[in-house]
Point group: D2
């Protein structure tokens, strides 16, 4: 119950089903004075749109965001920013069959168990469309972080077995390739792979990586509100994510302490780490280095081939899920990961302001 | 700030540094009427104790828990249960040198950055000792879950490259081997490995797995409070965890949809899943199957060999960390993982009671 | 920051300014299976509408609510219910003058101090119009409580010195008189008083009382989440409320213990209280008796007569606030009080379900 | 459930029953760098002690506070401060009779209804002794506020019909008179009154007032987290409080707008209010003026005279409550009110730091 809110200080509440009239997000705790308009948010939403290529479903989703509150004369006012995206091209008729059975890999069964029934149109609240609302809200966090010089950058690291090559990192390609990979060659290979998947009535998973730069040291709290713990929750709250790792992640479990520790050193009079196995976080608190993490996505569960399942009458049946579905969820999830990370960082940033008496004294001395 | 509380309904707040007079935990939201005494909690704490073998530090930690409130005539009263563990064998003198420099892989630097200074005795709040308080509190969650027939079982799956064999699963061995592996042979190999590590002044990482059985379907909420998202946060909030995965986890990223989907089927008139790649959670909600996840731990950062770092005056120096430290953190972390999982599940269980009008009506009709 | 959410389990988040395109409310934690449609909510909103009489401003506010999510085939789904009310008849032009000075009794000055500037159109977020969103959300709480047989009834007890007479209590009159008084005679006197106020370019305050019946005993928590403490917060969060009392309230401060204690007695085999000075709450927990409390409202600060104030340039000036304003806020606040009470009770009701192990066991035994 | 925590950013969690081994408070979110020791907290606890006069029970309560964590070398570290007070002079034997019946005006009945049974020793968690833990925690908030120059001062304004005279305000008398009245003459009259009460086997109520000075403008949030709404909750969470008012409070309901509005004016180049009917808060946000509020306490429910009630077998019986009880709760509650106010203000102060982008930019520019 009441699980549609994320964040303590910079807080979003999302609502809406894929086939209702609209979906949206209320962003509360936005500091006053940030320049904001619909186009700035739209840039993020457009990155979530399905394209017209091997990667994505040909469904048309317009996803125009409207700002309904919290902005006055082009600036945030400190009041909640309400964002709405109308659902324009949903056809409920496509989904009535789904009402009668449980799709493998979907939340149909668990919704029925939890609530006694479900909105079966397009998955209702468990639909990937729910993430449009997060992206709209998270865009505001990202825009806020930019004002502080903080850069959050997510991208596709792998689609199935096709991985990017670090040497080829091309940031612009994230926004220009259908795979959202920062490596045009790998992207082409991924397109091949997905064409084969689709021909095969199958789907693929993959990895989204995220890098956060110019983060002040000191963000995150030492025990339950560790920065990486909150990032993990943020990322696992995205449907289809099955694993999260920070820094070297699961590989660290197989290394020796002498290989995994990052030596401290001095550079230009500042403390730095000679390596960054830790991923920019020590003891749950940012260390001033690049924060980097990965999200592992399962393959899209909606596949065209025949699957075995159970219907609501308790009969075992064979189904073929109709409609055109993304053969991979990863490229569209890149901006979702980026936005969830931005929300987590914005929250940590505001929370950190009360850490030291000296900081509070100087804040109030200046202000009043 | 205020980051020492975990859970919304079944809630723990921990406090205490490794070298203060005591550490403890306040458990709020414990239902009234649960049989509880200190011995029942002590069983969990004893599993966290260091042993006298290759795996663990020879430091003596007695860790006797005292119940200070919330229990009357052997039953919980519904009031907060306050638990305290006195620190008995800490020698602050050992640690004064640490005050002057930043240990690689530790939170010394980030604490200084966040708070302006730190309690350098034994790592203060970032010490592994902080987890004793979680275990004390989480034990109450586990005891509560047992009353509902829910079984939470964590164990060591790997220490460095040494993995258990599924065929050898021996639950008793979890409690009897120094490695907490459910496989006595693998445990012996792990002991070898750690002896080599120690001889080499080095340390190892590993994997803790956790299985939760007899969980009702319907726990967890569909968006931000997904059961796996909350487990991820719970687990990443344990120091030294670098990755979390649920079900098949990161491997799922490399599989096809047709391989990864779990077909539904009927057994004894009930809906089941033919396989459990999902790890017992669909759309963030438990599906009635076994919930299983893994935590990947980095190698202990405190190693005896010479390391390069920086002191508070900004000089690069070489250090050798004194004292005897665990060459691996994993076996002692098993019960910490188990307790954090129990807390997460207890919270989801209470939260779920308000999901359906019919359930609420029948609850209040019966009660009043 | 992030202060637009109320409730822990049954939770509303409101958004919107009086002169933006719309305002609204997201209601999260609504149990699945409650019959709900727009007309059911509209009944509450209509009670907040200004009438065409001495009591209220002649501004026309249509306040049609739209349900944007969380309802499927006439029932709540357990997903957040998003409600929107378009602002149709707002004329920003009326308010530009207000931008330049601080109205006495309003939040103009404090908003400027907090946020650096403000949305000056109609008071922005501090406008009484914000309460429309609460009423929309609170209506759902009230509808939910009705399913459990719980009745929440607020009414005007006094307008300025005109008080209702207990003997004349006429519930229908609450909905039929412009004063929302359950006493037609008192209501007429109040109309007189307000005509005089208006003629005098002045305004009046008053009292809203609320009675909650058929509440189960056991709601509320003993320490910080006392039922009366949460009601107090709910009620003081309504602009213009200056005092809150439960049961006999402030009068109790002047009584003796022997006068104020409520003796317990037996009636029809059940424990009852012979009197109800306590107002249905003992130690912060409902005792099964009628819960009753009062909210004291200040007179409307917007008055037509000349007032002294300061402008943004720091000059002392005399102003006359234009536009037609309610000479009393109380009648329109009645439904706001009722809705905030319903939200508080709904929250306590859900929270209470985890109080006893026996209740939890029987809930899950039945459910699974 | 989980209702023992107060505050969002500066947060206390209290635990303990009057007759357990101890009670205590965990204070989380305390900024690092505040000078703190046990004597500083003890000054507040000592003000809560019963004296040896007409006002108070002759029970001896030593209430020595111990700091168990969060302070290092005389300064707070940013980690939770755990405070414990041992119960030294409690005699459970005195209370066994109470277990069998419900005391009028107490929470015996409601605890039984909520939890199925209760810790009947001295009222368990509903005992006034619970407030010792709040005072210990609130003292830290008060000490923190002093560092910012903010002064929180509570005092007895009335005991039964005996009220202080504004002209006689003598701050030192708050700490020196048994009544905690800032007026020695009124205090003597109150002592007379209470002697009569005690002779009569009866008790009295009264009023605690609180004034907060040098508060920056801008604290509190405009909708649900209004500063006065949070003060109301804080104060009503103190057992025995039946009403709360801010500024002129309930009297405002009977005034005209022209009488109640506070004109703005300029003084020394700053915006001030010519009067302060509002009590220093406009629209839920502090206006820079003195914040003042009142708490109305009911008479002590434990009285020596015969009372009618019901026992657990459902028989109506007559009881005489044994033991010596305070004939008035008000003087001992003064410091409780002061501490709850300090906690509320500390929370608002930290929350407010994220209100404006410009403030955040300058904070991080300076810090990093």
């Amino acid at each position: 119950m009441s699980g549609s809110t994320f964040g303590r200080f910079f807080q979003i509440t999302t609502w809406g089903e894929s086939h209702g009239p609209a979906l949206g997000c209320v962003v509360d705790g936005v500091p006053a004075g940030i320049s904001l308009n619909e186009d700035m948010i739209q840039w993020y939403l457009d990155r979530r749109k399905p394209g017209q290529n091997a990667m994505a479903t040909p469904r048309k989703e317009d996803d125009r965001v409207e700002i309904l509150s919290g902005v006055f004369e082009g600036k945030t006012t400190g009041s909640p920013v309400s964002l709405m995206i109308r659902n324009t091209s949903q056809h409920s008729a496509d989904y009535t069959e789904i009402a009668t059975y449980y799709r493998p890999g979907h939340a149909d069964y668990t919704f029925d168990q939890k609530y006694g029934f479900r909105d079966y149109r397009g998955g209702g609240r468990s639909s990937g469309r729910e993430t449009a609302a997060r992206v709209a809200g998270g865009a505001i966090a990202a825009i806020f972080l930019k004002e502080l010089g903080i850069d959050v950058c997510a991208y596709t690291e792998a689609i199935g077995p096709v991985q990017i090559k670090a040497a080829n990192f091309d940031r612009e390609a994230i926004y220009n390739t259908p795979s959202c990979m920062p490596d045009k060659e790998a992207s082409k290979q991924a397109e091949e792979l997905l064409r084969a998947c689709r021909a095969n009535k199958d789907s693929a998973g993959g990895i989204v990586a995220c890098r956060i730069n110019h983060l002040p040291a000191g963000l995150g709290d030492p025990v339950f509100e560790k920065l990486d713990a909150n990032l993990a929750k943020a990322i696992l709250s995205i449907g289809a994510v099955k694993a999260f790792e920070v820094g070297d992640g699961y590989v660290a479990a197989f290394k020796r302490g002498s290989e995994n520790n990052d030596a401290f050193a001095m550079r230009d009079g500042k403390v730095i780490k000679a390596t960054n196995h830790a991923g920019g976080i020590l003891g749950g608190i940012s260390d001033g280095d690049e924060v980097c993490f990965r999200a592992y996505f399962k393959p899209t569960p909606s596949i065209a081939r025949t699957q075995h399942t159970v219907n609501k009458d308790g009969d075992e049946i064979d189904i073929e899920i109709k409609g055109r579905h993304d053969p991979v969820i990863v490229p569209r999830a890149v901006v979702v990961v980026e936005c969830m990370a931005a929300l987590t960082i914005a929250d940590a940033l505001l929370s950190n302001m009360g850490s030291q008496l000296s900081g509070i004294l100087s804040f109030y001395h200046r202000e009043n």
